[in-house]
């Protein structure tokens, strides 16, 4: 799994590439912790290149969501493949996260 960040004005777009599972989610957590250290308050997570996410990946995302809430930050998710979207829906997390079709629509009014 690879994580790359792109700054767009005051927003950070985090693109993830590869499966998020028990082996890779600790690395994702480290990447997310870096956001807190840098006090980044607006984050878009791009899931376009994520074919699979397991419960540890979802939990890592929830933890980021909780942290962002604490600092009054904003988190958006975009470009979620159908298979991953199903996992969000089964776990009802689609109601928790703001999910957008693509980066452009996620950036709109952010």
């Amino acid at each position: 799994m690879k994580v790359s960040n792109l700054k767009k004005s005051d927003c950070t777009i985090c693109s993830i590439e590869g499966e998020i599972n028990l082996n890779t989610s600790p690395d994702l957590r480290k990447a997310f912790e870096e956001f807190s250290r840098q006090n980044i308050k607006k984050i878009i997570i791009d899931f376009e290149q994520v074919p699979y996410i397991d419960s540890s990946g979802l939990a890592t995302l929830i933890e980021l969501f909780q942290r962002m809430k604490k600092i009054d930050g904003k988190l958006r998710i975009c470009s979620v493949p159908e298979k991953v979207k199903n996992v969000f829906e089964v776990t009802k997390l689609h109601k928790l996260f703001e999910i957008y079709d693509d980066q452009e629509s996620a950036l709109e009014g952010f």
């Binding site: 028990l22 989610s25 600790p26 397991d54 419960s55 540890s56 933890e63 089964v90 776990t91």
Partner: protein
């Protein structure tokens, strides 16, 4: 038509206990994300079949193939690896009474992963939410009902996102309504999370509620495999006697019993 992916395959499997053939040359394929029910009378060999599939015991003849890997005769380490893709719901839930609901569900995560405590705590909440037990984290097994304990057991069984969950008599000892709740959960996990469910039961209501396909085992052999309609409509006298709970028929408990003289060794 889309080819179905075989996830569990038994090839000519036989098992003997004390010289008696308990499983007799069974070959069976179970497909990904289906709910496959194994039914049969007590002593028919259905639980032995489950133990063979989970690698608890090895066949004396034939092979058991899980996700393309023959688990017969592999090392303990390799078997542990395969088992990590299983979840198991035991007949009596097998929760540890001295641990809370949260601690019970988190056990496999603590044992098999190096995830941070905060992450484990969130996963446990997610799993408890999936089985409808949000808010019960701090309860002890003795403080909740039998049906709830089963659901905690199920949350623990799916803690590691298994590809396959094995259920041993999941509705036994539960009232019909709670049994129906467990049935719905099994069905939901299969359809939504694409988990393959292998259920051993003799609860006919449960069979008809959840099964995509059913196998009936009698005297260590598979009598029939088919969908629910096939099972209901078959003229096979063993199946008809079993599903209708008739005391008399080809499944004759008394005929197999040894006489009193032999029993007393006279």
């Amino acid at each position: 038509m889309e080819e179905k992916e075989v996830i569990i395959s038994l090839r000519n499997v036989s098992k003997y206990f004390q010289g008696k053939k308990i499983i007799d040359n069974i070959s069976l394929d179970i497909y990904r994300s289906e709910t496959f029910v194994i039914m049969g009378c007590s002593g028919s060999g259905k639980s032995t079949l489950l133990r063979l599939m989970t690698g608890v015991i090895e066949p004396d003849e034939g092979s058991v193939i899980i996700k393309g890997k023959n688990i017969t005769g592999i090392s303990v380490e390799e078997l542990d690896d395969v088992r990590r893709s299983f979840g198991m719901l035991f007949q009596y839930s097998a929760l540890l009474d001295s641990l809370t609901v949260e601690e019970n569900v988190s056990l496999p995560l603590r044992e098999h992963t190096k995830l941070a405590e905060d992450i484990i705590r969130i996963i446990v909440k997610m799993k408890l939410s999936l089985v409808g037990l949000r808010g019960y984290e701090s309860y002890y097994p003795s403080q909740i009902s039998g049906g709830m304990r089963k659901r905690v057991g199920l949350a623990r069984a799916i803690a590691l996102d298994p590809a396959i969950v094995f259920y041993d008599e999941p509705t036994s000892g539960l009232d019909p309504v709670v049994g129906g709740v467990i049935d719905k959960l099994i069905k939901d996990l299969s359809s939504k999370l694409l988990i393959t469910s292998v259920v051993v039961t003799h609860d006919m209501q449960s069979v008809f509620n959840i099964a995509d396909r059913v196998a009936m085992v009698h005297k260590g052999q598979v009598v029939i495999v088919g969908d629910v309609a096939t099972i209901k409509n078959t003229k096979n006298p063993y199946v008809q006697q079993f599903i209708n709970g008739k005391p008399h028929g080809p499944i004759d408990f008394f005929k197999e019993d040894i006489g009193i003289k032999e029993f007393l060794e006279l």
